[in-house]
Amino acid sequence: MKLLYFAWLRARVGCAEEEVALPPDITDVAGLLDWLRARGPGYAAALADPSVIRVAVNQDYVGPEHAVRDGDEVAIFPPVTGG
């Protein structure tokens, strides 16, 4: 699975992009975020507040219950501020 991070989430996680092998018991976005939080203090800090986290799977906005599987492109970022 390809993970992308943007804006201050990228800065806190410490990378813009990584490839991860998803454990088989991780099946949705909420599970993925929990798994990431457990990977280290940078992840835990970056993902601490769900109210300022948005997730896109294969470039569409999704909620915490959305399924994820290996091969997906999952982007994690704060609320957008363009325009």
């Binding site: 896109a56 704060p78 957008v80 501020t81 325009g83």
Partner: protein, 152 residues
Amino acid sequence: MIRVQREDFDVGAELDRLAAGNHRVGGIASFVGLVRDLGGGERVAALTLEHYPGMTEKKLAEIELEAHRRWPLDASLIIHRYGRLEPGDRIVLVATASPHREAALAACHFLIDWLKTDAPFWKSEETPEGERWVSARSEDDKAKRRWTGGEQ
């Protein structure tokens, strides 16, 4: 049409092109967003716009398609810049051309409201205290909700 680019754009030329040769068009509405510097303690020397290549184009195309579904538009254009921009620089252009004034105006308003909440761009500001990521505004969500109620 959608363009995501680092370079500036020429508003007059873009608007001319939108209706060129199409004499059905009665009105062109547009909105240009500029980098603000509010001065004082909020002084901003510059900002940097980051985006999510691929998803940006996808979301902008969806937003544009939705505008064409809702209003009789002959043409539309969204240009959004990324990279480092200084106060006064253009960030975004949204323009709509329609036989009908109301359609052009409403669709233009809709496009910029939706773009604000749906297009994956993030601004960070250079301030005297260092880099600061801009927070999303709840007013933007409210502005978008106007278009998701029963009004259209």
